[in-house]
Amino acid sequence: MLKFYLNAEFCKLNGFVNYNTMGFYKLTVNGQLHSVEADPDTPLLWVLRDNLGLTGTKFSCGIAQCGACTVQINGDPVRSCVMPVSSAINSKIVTIEGLSIANSHPVQKAWIEEQVPQCGYCHSGQIMAAAALLEKNANPSDEEIHNGMRGVLCRCGTYPRVMKAIRKASAKISKS
């Protein structure tokens, strides 16, 4: 799929940045197939935001330390800020925009019922991480919730409500 490469060795020797590396990548995002042109090391996050206009997934730390950019890849929560677009091909990517239609996912419903978000910026990531957790374990213990939500930060301090909302969503999912 690569368009064309400049001799990498030449670049290295001359201290140049190897620039002619743009490639085309086919991504399946929220059930739709997209073809995007990007540098292979471009993080999936920026491809989602800038190439596909899916701005619900957020940038915050860029080093997989905060979880704001969490998307699901084949059902697993993944920090899209450190995943190169070249590694995201041939997989099923789901972003917050594709989690459900009209806030209908049990996690989203619980988030609204518990009035979780304040500024709201981290909550796409919080919700994607929580939904992935409950997908694998519908009835997690407190400790399993804590572990599943490790590294998903909120500066407003909405954690007490995040906990309540995950418990509520879990109760609903395990009942149905």
């Binding site: 201290g15 140049f16 940045v17 620039y19 002619n20 590396t21 540098d39 471009t42 993080p43 920026w46 800038d50 899916l54 701005t55 619900g56 957020k58 940038f59 915050s60 730390c61 860029g62 080093i63 330390q65 905060c66 704001a68 972003t95 917050i96 925009e97 989690l99 459900s100 009209a102 806030n103 989203q108 609204i112 009035q115 979780v116 978000p117 304040q118 500024c119 709201g120 910026y121 981290c122 909550h123 796409s124 919700i127 919730i145 804590h146 572990n147 939500m149 490790r150 590294g151 998903v152 930060l153 909120c154 500066r155 407003c156 301090g157 909405t158 954690y159 007490p160 409500r161 906990m163």
Partner: protein, 716 residues
């Protein structure tokens, strides 16, 4: 419930709407809390921007405008709630729109100091009431009756004796011909049906499906992204730079030297402009910059503390004095003394700093998340010598602010870049930029001395604050402003009391951080009061109550928190409790921290907050803000700090500037005092007492007194 969008709406009059077929009521601001209510329905001309607070169409559709930028504090919902209360419409059946930024039409729109509600409560009530009275007058005419025979409820006016009803929509045409009263009859607070109810926030569904637009989400045609390399030593100057390698990165268009104004000081930098964020970042990594750093590399936090301890010997500026501290303290048999250290802190809002500006010959446009939209307009007007009317401010939801987004530095820099490039430029700070550049919450040293008399009561207290002053960072002034004394409880009845401040100045930039100086001073003050109580052999809560026996509101929250936290019930041997109080932005808070020793480790377990914020608009928001304050207060107490090593910030990202996480979050129980006092601020109030309540609790459990933040929880 109707959903809504958060993008500010600039609603222009359509030709079809010009026959008084709507009711639009707004105001002309007269000072901070005063306004003149005006009927905008008739003055509207086609193509003009309509700037109302209340808009009602002939179909009965009600649109209420929120003019306060939203960063999580909840005013997006609370401001319209106040209007809806007096207008008598169902809050769940209206549309909320974010107003444009216009100080002539909306007054002050800067969201700082928890003042959205306390400064706008009366204006917003008057707004809703005036519009309601216009509708009632129109209805009375139709009923051939007196206004006093009519009643407004849920979007209808009813003629009470006959039971006839007319909807607001039908009355709009007639009402729009009337003049609003500037002293409309307001409801008795006992009749409130919206204010005081936990109404679901309309912005929340937008924030659970990715729909909410933040500053960082905005794009315009032809824009470039900027990533900017700034001096890691804050004040380094650019001698020269080489951009050849950066320019080879595909997508990179320009390299510019630039600068930004931080509190009157010019901070230099080199920017890479590219057609994508990632290209700009890659280009930036390939930049070579020669900096002149002088002796900036010699700065360390330790040196700053040495300087502050030395400065603590100076007398400084006296802000309050009663009795005769020096003499009585000298003679006292039972005296104590302590120093408390609190570090610099970064704001670290989850949405990194960003802004987009387009500067052209005859127009400037801004897009982004800001706490101070009109401040940006004034700043850009001055910077480019352009009339403020030619500057368009498009502000969005903020992904957190905490004070950081009230500054102009980010906009100042990107505006310069847009002027140089001639296209719209959007700058996105990396997290490393955010944590490494500040401006920060000030670090401070507090020196306290106190004595206990023979009866076991507080006799003397001297509180001295040594720190930088946000309002006095440059220039020659030698005295700090009284702003640095926030969070000291001057209401304690201590016969010999003194409050002093010593100003320190250096190049590390500081600014307002959630609750500002309250967050540092209250830790020292309320810890030392605890030390005095211990010295006096008194229960620390009772010790405070005695000194505040004539202060109704403090006493009330102390008694409430005692009740709710089971304060007087002796805890088991593995549990400790601590108390602290504060007044912040008009609200009074008493907070009890409960810590437990679990498997040998100290665990912050439960926090009980009692808050008196006067009349409550949305109780759930008060609870949410208090929960958030406790989490942020705990983060600053034992997780995060900014330190300086070899001239630069030692922390770079969330791997070293640690935030609290879900797994370590304690229970937070919030109790609100029922009150008819004027409403006060709730966005910051519970933060200052969190750290001292925690460390006081740790003292009661372990006997270890913590006087330096942040402390390591696992080393207690």
């Amino acid at each position: 419930m109707k959903t809504t969008t958060n993008l500010p709406r600039r609603d222009f009059i359509k030709l079809s709407a010009i026959s008084g077929a709507f009711l639009a009521v707004g105001f002309v601001p007269l000072g901070e809390k005063e306004s003149k209510i005006v009927n905008l329905s008739k003055t509207a001309t086609p193509g003009n921007e309509l700037n109302p607070f209340v808009f009602i169409g002939t179909d009965g559709k009600v649109v209420l405008y929120n003019h306060r930028p939203e960063m999580g504090q909840g005013t997006f919902q609370a401001i319209p709630m106040i209007i809806a209360e007096e207008l008598e419409v169902d809050i769940n059946d209206i549309e909320i729109r974010q107003s444009p930024a216009d100080e002539h039409k909306y007054g002050d729109q800067m969201v700082v100091g928890s003042r959205s509600i306390r400064n706008n409560f009366n204006n917003m009530r008057k707004m809703g009431a005036a519009a309601r009275e216009m509708l009632m007058q129109a209805a009375a005419k139709r009923f051939h009756s007196d206004v006093s025979e009519c009643e407004a409820k849920n979007g209808y006016i009813t003629h009470v004796s006959s039971g006839r009803k007319i909807s607001y929509g039908v009355l709009v045409r007639d009402a729009s011909e009337l003049e609003p009263s500037n002293s409309p009859a307001l409801k008795d607070p006992s009749q409130f049906s919206v204010i005081g109810k936990s109404v679901p926030r309309m912005d929340i569904p937008l924030k659970t499906n990715g729909e909410a637009k933040f500053g960082i989400d905005h794009q315009v045609e032809g824009m470039l992204y900027a990533s900017v390399e700034r001096s890691p030593f804050f004040a380094g100057r650019v001698i020269d730079y080489f951009g050849e390698k950066a320019l080879q990165v595909p997508g990179v268009k320009y390299i510019f030297k630039t600068s930004r104004d931080v509190w009157g000081k010019k901070r230099e930098a080199v920017a890479v402009l590219a057609n994508s964020y990632w290209a700009a970042v890659k280009g930036r990594k390939a930049l070579e910059i020669m900096w002149h750093n002088g002796d900036l590399k010699n700065w360390t936090t330790e040196e700053i503390w040495i300087d502050y301890y030395k400065a603590s010997k100076e007398e400084g500026t006296t802000f309050e004095e009663k009795g005769d501290f020096e003499n009585i303290f000298d003679k006292s048999a039972n005296k104590i003394e302590a120093y408390y250290e609190t570090p610099y802190q970064a704001h670290a809002p989850m949405e990194p700093m960003n802004a987009m500006v387009s500067v052209t010959e005859d127009k400037i446009e801004f897009w982004g998340s800001t706490q101070n939209p009109n401040g940006i307009r004034s700043h850009l007007a001055e910077k480019f010598g352009m009339h403020p009317d030619k500057i368009i401010i498009n502000y969005t939801f903020m992904g957190g602010g905490f004070g950081r987004r009230s500054l102009m530095d980010v906009v100042d820099e990107v505006a310069d870049l847009s002027a140089q490039a001639g296209v719209p430029v959007k700058v996105i700070w990396t997290r490393e930029d955010d944590i490494g550049q500040g401006p920060f919450r000030a670090c401070s040293l507090n020196h306290l001395r106190g004595s206990i008399n023979a009866e076991g009561n507080a006799e003397c207290l001297d509180h001295k604050i040594i720190c930088q002053d946000i309002r006095n960072q440059s220039g020659y002034g030698k005295s700090p402003s009284s702003g640095i004394t926030g969070g000291v409880i001057t209401e304690y009845e201590i016969p010999n009391f003194r409050l002093n401040g010593v100003l320190r100045k250096h190049h590390i930039p500081i600014t307002y951080w959630r609750s500002v100086y309250h967050s540092t001073n209250c830790f020292a003050h309320e810890s030392f009061i605890d030390e005095m109580a211990h010295e006096a052999g008194k229960d620390p809560l009772d010790f405070r109550l005695v000194m505040l026996k004539n202060h109704y509101r403090y006493s009330q929250v102390l008694k409430l928190v005692a009740e709710k936290s089971d304060w007087y019930k002796t805890p088991d041997e593995n549990t400790g409790r601590g108390v602290a109080i504060v007044e912040r932005s008009g609200s009074f808070v008493a907070l009890v921290a409960e810590v437990k020793r679990i498997e040998g480790k100290i665990v912050p377990y439960k926090f009980t907050v009692a808050i008196d914020c006067g009349i409550v608009i949305n109780p759930d928001t008060v609870v949410a803000q208090s929960e958030g304050c406790v989490v942020m207060g705990l983060t600053a107490a034992y997780k995060s700090a900014i330190t300086i090593e070899e001239g630069r910030v030692a922390q770079t990202n969330f791997d070293k500037f640690k935030l609290m996480e879900l797994y370590e979050t304690p229970q937070v129980n919030v109790h609100i005092v029922q009150s008819n006092e004027a409403p006060e601020g709730v966005g910051e109030a519970a933060l200052p007492p969190t750290a001292p309540a925690l460390t006081n609790a740790i003292f009661s459990l372990t006997g270890k007194r913590i006087r330096r933040l942040p402390f390591k929880l696992d080393e207690v």
